[in-house]
Every structure is written in C-alpha cells, then in structure tokens.
C-alpha cells in the first residue's frame, strides 16, 4: 500500500522521501518517476530519510467514523482519532499523519514539537499494517 514510505523501528523509525539530484527538491510521498519542479530538467530521484521531528502546522480530529477504504471494526464504537499536519523545517514540507492513540486536540497547539513513531494502522489476522504516527515531544513553541 505505502511501500517505501517509512523504515526502521523505535527511535530509528523515519519517513522516507525522495530528492532530485539536480534541483534538490524533496518529495513525500516519494516521487520515483519524474522531478515535479517545473524549472528542473529532471534528475535521479534518490531515497532520503525525512527529519524525525517537526512543528505542528495545524491539527484536528475525526469525530465520526471515516468511510472505507479506511478500515475500522463496525462492531466497535468509533473512537475519535486526531490528525496532525507537521512542518518539517529542513525539508520545508508539511506532512499529515494521525497522532499516536490517546493524544487529543486538547493536547496540541500550533507550533508544538512532535516526532514520528511507528504505529499500527490495523491488523487482519494475517498482516499487521504499519503506519507512521506523530507524537508530541512535550516541547512547545
């Protein structure tokens, strides 16, 4: 589903993007076909790890169960999940992700620092679908 979007475990977990060898543009989700900078003739797109920490650009939550293809158990009551858009300074990019379970909008402010950690999107008995999650570091703006 999202092959090559992240790698590693624990403190080594990082999002993976790509970077153009000619203009140094960064892409996430990874762009492997062509550099999308209109002023660039196009170069090799090499895989790079993204910064593990960033600042909250904005945040919200989903109080109602999202429709498919999001996978949820309709037998269980819906637990609202929190979404955080995070600005990575070095890459000058904003990346959206779910917050780690238990973090609500009340725990967040724009500008606060968060870090990327692995999380489980869902599991179906045979497969555990890993994803990325944003977790507050406790450092505020």
């Amino acid at each position: 589903m999202v092959t090559g979007w992240f790698t590693g475990d624990g403190d080594d977990f990082t999002l993976l993007g790509t970077r153009c060898s000619v203009c140094a543009s960064v892409f996430f989700p990874r762009e492997d076909a062509h550099c999308r900078n209109p002023g660039c003739a196009g170069g090799e797109l090499a895989e790079i790890p993204l910064s593990r920490r960033g600042r909250v650009w904005s945040y919200t939550d989903s109080r109602y169960r999202p429709p498919s293809p999001y996978v949820t158990d309709p037998e269980l009551p819906w637990e609202p999940c929190t979404l955080i858009a995070v600005e990575l300074a070095a890459e000058r990019i904003v990346v959206l992700g779910q917050a780690v379970p238990g973090v609500t909008v009340a725990d967040l402010t724009v500008g606060a620092e968060v870090e990327v950690v692995p999380g489980v999107l869902h599991e179906d008995g045979e497969t555990v679908f890993t994803t990325w999650r944003w977790r507050p570091t406790g450092v505020t703006a």
């Binding site: 589903m1 999202v2 153009c20 203009c23 140094a24 543009s25 960064v26 892409f27 996430f28 989700p29 999308r36 900078n37 209109p38 002023g39 660039c40 650009w57 904005s58 945040y59 919200t60 939550d61 989903s62 109080r63 109602y64 999202p66 429709p67 498919s68 293809p69 999001y70 996978v71 949820t72 999940c81 979404l83 858009a85 070095a90 890459e91 000058r92 990019i93 904003v94 990346v95 959206l96 992700g97 779910q98 909008v105 402010t109 724009v110 500008g111 999107l121 994803t131």
Partner: protein, 396 residues
C-alpha cells in the same frame, strides 16, 4: 481581454435530498435555463456537461446524457471533469467554443445526486490515487481538512469559533430567501455552537452538507444576443481555470503532504489567491470594483479565507471584514447572497454553475429579496480536488 459571451438564460433544479437521478435534475435545470433565454433546445449548437458518476463504464458522464434526455438533435457535445471546479470548467469550455466561432449558443449543465454522508473515493485498491490513499492511510475525510484550515486560522489570525458561526448565521439568512436552497431556515450562533463537533474546531453547522441539485446556463456570442434583441445581457468577462504554482505549500485536499519549498521559493500568491488573480487579470477588473462574490464555503472558516484570497481585505483580516458587516446583505461587498453552500449543500458538478446563475440573477436585478442594489460586477470562486481552481467574472 479575450472577449465576452452573453448569459441568455439561467436555471436550477432546487437543491435537497430528492432521491431521484441526476439526469432529471439536469434536464429540469436545462429546460429552465432555455425558457429563461427564450430559446428552444433545437436552437442550441453545443452542449457542455459537468461530469458526474454513473455506475457503468466509464462512469463519468454528462453532456451526452443530458443531450439524449433532452432529445438527440445533433448538437456538438463535451463533458468535463474537474471535481468541484467541473461546473466552471464547463463554462470555460462553452465560452471557448463561442469565442472560437464553433457555436453561437451553448447549453451548460451540471447536476448530481450526492451520496449520503462523507464523500468517499471510488472502490477497489487504488494506491496510485491520492484521494484513495488519504482515506485508506489516514481516514482523512473532507471535513478534517476544513478543520485543519480552521484551526490554523485560529492560531495565526486569532479567528474564533464565534466568528465561524457568524458566517453560517449570515449565509443561512440569505438561504432563507432563496427558493432553490436546500436549507431555508435562519440559523443562530447558539444553534451552531450546540451542533456536534465533526472535525475540531468545526461543528456540523460549520460544514456544508451533500445534496442533490442541478444548474444550467445558456451562453451565446454577443452578436447572437444582439440579434435576439438582448441589448444589455449579463456578460461573462473572465473564466479562470488555473493550476497551482510549484511549490504549493498549503496542504490541499486530497494530498497527504505539501510540495517542499526546499529547492524553490514559493510564489507570493497562494493557489487560492492565484485563482482570483487570474480572473481579475483577464477581466481587467479588481476587487475594489466588485458588487458581490459567490465563494465556495465548504466550511464557515473557509469563507473567511476566500475574503483574503479574493483581495476583499488583507491577509488575516477576514473575520474583521465579517464582523464589520461588509460581507452581509447591504454591506460593502456582500458574499454568498445565494446562501452559499451553507444553504445549498454540495451537488458537486452543479455548484460552480449555480454560482454563475446567482450572479446572473443579481446582475439583472432579478434576485428578489436577496438583491444587491446596483449590482454591476460579480465574481465566483471555487477549488476542486487535484489542483483545479476556477473563478468566473460576470458584468452588466
């Protein structure tokens, strides 16, 4: 200046949840627009439809579907898909045909029967579709993006939930006067505050519903309009259909991330601002000349953003403009006198056409109790998924 086209007719099928097919809504709107223009369907040389989804392959249909329902008469046909900007792109296609001399009279139609609840992507495993991915990986519905924008405005500009609610109060007051609107009840700030949170900080009454509906326009060359005795018709002077400029640094539906600004500095104008700017440039008209605007208020907070993107006020001053009453009926620059999406809900391919219908009625002086006095110049603005942006400028 690329030349003008005349709006000879405008028509709608009322918005609501009617439980019927989109063809019926589109044909009703088309017949209303033709009657308004005083023309027969056989007088139409071309039909352009804003696409919607039908079950069969390839699923996205419009122009020919409406042509068949109205009765095959050999007209030129086109269909366009541009998500929420589909209707404006249909207007653009029609205008281009008229200005190119390919047709004297073009019928533009958009209609939809919206699904219940959240919009969702088409079925199947489609990881090459960013719209599918944001649902599959993040469960990020449209309202969560609206929530992100709203929270960002609160943090950066100091907007409050009460400001957002006042947008709903204003638009619902106008919708109450519009027979084509789905919601025709005035809403109070307390009612907004008492509605359930959908995507913090936005509540149910901050977010537009999905609806059924249809809208249509009859456009013609200026020469044809004159021949028919329409000496001073409403004219479309500009249609902007721009894409963003790399790097697009505001998180846009349905993307999971922005473009990176690591290699290229962002331009001064955001995507939304560039949509309006292109229309102003083409029309040779500035925001100070506007009599009214119809903008895509997918959420109350987003309407405030449009004030700034249209240049009605400076950055961060949207809520101030609202509080001053400038964008309400009788204000300096009334916005969403139709009631907006707050009162209509979204019938995606129809909404951008419906915005132009409202401009047409306002510029003719036919808007009844919603009438903006001495309306001479109007703009519409909207944004569709996947980098579609459109604005239409009409003058009288």
């Amino acid at each position: 200046m690329t030349g003008e086209v005349a709006v000879l007719g405008a028509g709608m099928h009322p918005w609501g949840k009617w439980g019927r097919g989109f063809v019926e809504y589109g044909v009703t709107a088309a017949r209303a627009a033709l009657a308004d223009a005083g023309l027969e369907w056989r007088d139409v040389g071309s039909i352009v439809g804003a696409d919607t989804v039908r079950g069969g392959y390839p699923g996205y249909v419009a122009g020919a579907t409406f042509a068949k329902a109205l009765g095959w008469q050999g007209a030129r046909v086109a269909s366009v898909y541009a998500a929420c900007a589909s209707g404006a792109q249909a207007v653009a296609a029609a205008r281009a045909q008229i200005l190119a001399g390919l047709a004297d009279v073009v019928l533009v139609v958009g209609a939809d029967a919206a699904p219940k609840g959240f919009f969702r992507p088409a079925g199947g495993d489609r990881p090459d579709d960013p719209d599918w991915l944001r649902f599959r990986v993040l469960g990020a519905t449209n309202p969560t993006y609206f929530g992100l924008y709203a929270r960002r405005r609160m943090a950066v500009h100091g907007d409050t939930s009460e400001d957002f609610a006042q947008v709903k109060v204003k638009n619902s007051a106008m919708g109450a006067l519009n027979p084509n609107a789905r919601y025709r009840k005035r809403v109070t700030a307390d009612e907004v505050a008492a509605s359930a949170v959908v995507a913090d900080p936005l509540r149910l009454l901050d977010i537009c519903a999905t609806s059924d509906g249809g809208a249509a326009l009859v456009l013609s060359s200026m020469e044809f309009a004159r021949r028919r005795g329409a000496t001073a018709p409403v004219r479309i002077r500009a249609v902007s259909t721009v894409t963003p400029t790399y790097p697009n640094t505001v998180l846009d539906l349905p993307d999971i991330a922005t473009d990176s600004a690591a290699a290229v500095e962002p331009t001064e104008r955001t995507f939304r601002a560039s949509i309006a700017h292109a229309a102003y440039q083409e029309a040779g008209i500035g925001p100070e000349d506007l009599s009214l605007a119809e903008v895509y208020d997918l959420s109350t907070a987003l309407e405030l953003q449009w004030y700034e993107d249209l240049g009605l006020c400076g950055e961060g001053e949207g809520a101030k403009l609202l509080r001053e009453g400038a964008t309400a009926a009788g204000g300096r620059i009334p916005v969403n006198m139709s009631g907006g999406l707050a009162s209509f809900g979204e019938a995606v391919p129809a909404q951008a056409i419906a915005q132009v219908c409202e401009l047409t009625w306002q510029l003719r002086g036919d808007a009844g109790q919603r009438q903006v006095e001495h309306a001479r110049v109007g703009i519409t603005a909207n944004q569709g998924l996947f980098g579609h942006g459109s604005a239409v400028m009409a003058v009288r």
